[in-house]
Amino acid sequence: MKMNWKALAFLAGMLAFWHGIVWMQLVNTALFPGPFAVLEAGISWFNSGILLQDVGTSIWRLLTGLAIGGTLGILLGLAMGRIFFLEETAAPFFHILRAFPPVAIIPLIIVWLGIGDIAKIFSIAFAVFFPLWISTLIGVKSIPKEYLKVATLFSKHPLKTLTRVVIPAPLPFLVSGVRIAIGMGFIMVFVSELAGASSGLGYFIASAQIVYRVDQMMAGLIVLGLLSFLTDYLFVRVSQRLFPWVNVQ
């Protein structure tokens, strides 16, 4: 996504509109504070040192969940994409699991794993596993037959075929899968931190709700949204650099 002057002007317009309706007292500012009040809440959160701590905790949980769920998803997607028996046997089970809304499993996870970091990371890993599994599986199944013929003809080493053809070929699918997984991961970070957490962005927003600090809730939400946006943006930039042949946009 490119930020151009039109997009920036629109963003400025939206902020001005937000400020305008608050300034004209068209809304109850206790329930819908203006941008300056939210900014002030954000600055005070930052100055307390808790903002960075919350961001760090949430990002750590997200990345750990992404690493675990992503690795398992990619490995199983690769295996099922290449071994028909495995796909035929195990894929229906994973398709059923994939239909469960990830948020709905949180109460069960709390019962099974408690409210600590393990439970939160598990719920994030569970949510990100499926987009990465399905995108890898589809990617491997979509490898053009000619690529595999070329690999068979020009390389007699199965390991070379795997590392230089089977793994890179599904990357366009995988890159899309990771972007979906990042979005899912942020949802799960937020939801899993709403209950039973002592730090993190979800915890901050939940705590602010208890004391009716809507400005803090909105500041937390904006930080969460910005983080999600920035993570996706960074991923796109890194992908463009690492895989220039993939149309990441």
């Binding site: 070329v150 003809l153 990357l171």
Partner: protein, 229 residues
């Protein structure tokens, strides 16, 4: 050009129904043979069987080192030109790559990705990849069919020059009879899964594109097309 490098005896291939039916073909070392015929007669199936990509019933004798050029260039989009060319090599043989780049007339494009190349360039790299391992036999399955008319003519001319430089036995599958006459020593017409007729191309090499407008060329073309039915 004495003994047979490729020998196919009584080859049968079945998919849902028989595709190749007791096919016999012999190709001499150094020979350039084109296989023509209507769609669905089993031309590509024959190439796949000779290359070992497809198993059939019957006898096939072919050299172990085979280069294959597919209809669509089938270059790996995640590899640069140089990486694609060296895919079949045991190690990154820089000298070999530079030789190939010169042969393909593509110096300076080593680090480009396939999507950055024109259709003709992509097909040339595909040919270079097939030639990288110094194959004794080169198989080409309609390599120029996806190119526009102008590029196709240029590629045929380029190919004519190239085959003068390389000492490789070649089997080309094509729908284009002009292309077959321009490049081949012999043209084999396939019909209903077997060889229907064979035509020796009497014109001396190298042949120029202009040859296709001459009377003997047109007569041979007519004879070949008439043998389709």
């Amino acid at each position: 050009m004495s003994h047979a490098l490729v020998s196919v005896k009584g080859l049968n291939v079945h998919f849902k129904e028989p595709v190749l039916k007791g096919l016999f073909l012999s190709v001499k070392k150094g020979e350039f043979v084109s296989i023509v015929g209507k769609s669905g007669v089993g031309k590509s199936t024959l190439l796949n069987a000779i290359s070992g990509l497809l198993k059939g019933e019957g006898e096939i004798h072919a050299p172990p080192t085979i280069g294959f050029v597919f209809q669509n260039h089938s270059l790996f989009p995640w590899m640069t030109v140089k990486e694609n060319l060296s895919f079949g090599l045991h190690e990154n043989d820089e000298k070999k790559i530079q030789e190939l780049m010169a042969l393909l007339e593509m110096q300076g494009k080593e680090n480009d990705y396939p999507t950055q190349l024109s259709g003709g360039q992509q097909q040339r790299v595909s040919l270079g990849r097939a030639l990288a391992t110094n194959p004794s036999l080169l198989l080409m399955d309609e390599p120029f069919s996806s190119l526009d008319g102008h590029t196709r003519l240029r590629m045929q001319e380029w190919m004519m020059n190239l085959i003068q430089k390389i000492d490789t036995t070649t089997i080309l599958v094509t729908h284009d009879v002009d292309e077959a006459i321009l490049l081949s020593d012999r043209i084999v017409v396939m019909k209903d899964g077997s060889i229907h007729s064979e035509h020796v191309v009497p014109f001396t090499k190298p042949r120029l594109n202009e040859i296709r407008y001459q009377q003997p060329f047109q007569e041979l073309k007519k004879k070949i097309i008439e043998s389709y039915d």
